[in-house]
C-alpha cells in the first residue's frame, strides 16, 4: 500500500532544506533548483556532470568533511551540507619565515 514519502531535513549552506528519504544530496539540490554548487580550481561553477560518481565535479562538504560526491551520497536527516570551493588560495610557502 503506497504511503506518503518520508522527508528528511538537511541544512544547505546554512538554510534548512527538505528532501525525500532516499534522495541523494545532488537530487535534493537539483530538485530545489540548483544546477551548480561548487567552484572549480579557477572558480568556475560546477554541479552534477556524470551523475554516476566518476567525474568528481559535484563535490560538497558534508558535516565538515570535504570531497563528498553529492550524486552518490544519500542525504541523512540532520546532514549539514556546505558548498566546496576548490579555488583555494595557494599557500605562501615559507615567505614569512624566509631567512634569505
Amino acid at each position: 500500500m503506497a504511503s506518503d514519502a518520508e522527508t528528511v531535513r538537511i541544512e544547505v549552506a546554512g538554510e534548512p532544506v527538505d528532501g525525500l528519504a532516499g534522495q541523494t544530496i545532488a537530487g535534493i539540490l537539483m530538485a530545489g533548483g540548483r544546477l551548480s554548487w561548487r567552484r572549480s580550481r579557477t572558480g568556475r561553477p560546477r554541479g552534477v556532470f556524470c551523475g554516476i560518481g566518476v567525474c568528481f565535479d559535484c563535490l560538497v562538504v558534508v558535516n565538515g568533511l570535504r570531497d563528498v560526491r553529492a550524486c552518490q551520497r544519500r542525504a541523512v536527516d540532520g546532514d549539514r551540507v556546505e558548498f566546496q570551493r576548490d579555488d583555494v588560495a595557494e599557500h605562501a610557502g615559507g615567505q614569512e619565515d624566509d631567512h634569505g
Binding site: 570535504r66 576548490d86 599557500h91 605562501a92 610557502g93 615559507g94 619565515d97 624566509d98
Partner: protein, 388 residues
Amino acid sequence: MGAGIVGAATARVLARAGCDVVVVDRGATAGGTSASGEGNILVSDKGPGAELLLTWRTLAAWARVREELRDELPAGFPDLEFDRKGGLVVATSPEGAEALLAFARTQRAAGVRAEIVDDARAHELEPDLTPDLTSAVFYPEDAQVQPVVATEALLAAARRHGARVRQRVEVTGPLLAGGRLAGVRTTAGDLFADAVVLAAGPWSAGVAERLGVALPVRPRRGTVLVTSRMPARVRHKVYDADYVGAVGSGSADLQVSSVVESTAAGTVLIGSSRERRGFDDRIEARVLAALAAKALVLFPFLADAQVIRAYGGFRPYVPDHLPIIGADPRLPGLWHATGHEGAGIGLSLATADLLHDLILAPETADPLADAFRPDRPGLPQEHPDGAT
C-alpha cells in the same frame, strides 16, 4: 644516456661550453625517477660530508641557473616553482629527540643552519603540527622545485645551445676503439662520441652491463600518497626524525619515515617509504597504511584528507650512499653521473658542474670530486642486492 634531471643538467652545462651533445633515453624525457619524487633540495638530511657540500653547491647553482634560464627558455615555459620552503624535522619520542639533536649538532658544526626550535616556535611555524613532539629542528635552507618542469627546462635550454634529445632510443652495446669507449650502439644506430655519460638513474647498472662494466647501483623503491587540493595548512616540508635514519640505512625491509608537504597546486604529498625489491613496481596496501599512519602522527588533522593518488618510483641506490661521479677507470671514455638515491634533484646541478670540469678541464676539477669517484675506497664493485 638518460634524460632525467642529472642527464639534463649535464647536457646543458656541456652544450653551453660548446660541446656537441646528444641525449638519448629509451623512454620519454623526465620519464623515470625525476618524475617520481617531490623535487626536494634538502640540507636537513645531510650529515657533514661530501654530499652536503654538493647540496650547497646545487642550491647556489639554482639561483644562478634560474636567471640564466630566463634567457634560455621561450616565453610561456611552465614555471619551475622554485620555493625556498624550509624544512622542519620533528621528533615524537625521547629516543628520536636525542638522535635528532645529536645529528643537528654535527650539522651545525659543519655550517648547516639548523635551528633548534621550542614547542611554541614549532607550532608558530606549523600550527597544525601534533602537540606530542619531543624536539624539532628548522632548516631554512631546504628548498623545492617542480622536478619535471626543471628537467624539461634544463633539456630545453640544452637544445637551445645545440644539444639534440632523442627519445625512445635504447643503448644496446659499446663501440670500442683500442680499449676505449668511442660511442654506443643504439636501437637507432651507432653514435660516436668522445665522452659517454651514464646518467640513467636506477637503470644505470643495466646500461653499464651492456657496455661491459659492473656498476653497484640498484633500485630503492619509494611510494607517495597525494591528497585532493585543500586550503593550505602545511607550510613547510615537515619530516619525522626517523627520516635521517631511513636514508642512511642499508636494510632491505620496508622502512617508512614520514614526509609531509603542500604543493603549489594545493595538494598534500605524503611520503616516504624505502624498500629494496628490484624493479617490482606494485603498490601494496601495507606500504600505504604505513605511510598514512606515520603522517597522522605529525598532522592528526590529515585523517580526513581525501587521498586520490598513490604512485611509486625507484631511487638509484649505492651501498655507501654517495653518488658515482667521474671517469670509469676500467673503460676510458665512459663517465658516470648516477647513484643520487633520493637526492637527484638536490645534487643535479653540482654534479653537472663537477662533470664539466672533470671532462673538459680536469686540472681545475675540485678535489671534492674525489669523494664520488667510481673507484673510491669503500665502494664495493658488487652490490649487496646482487644481479641486476
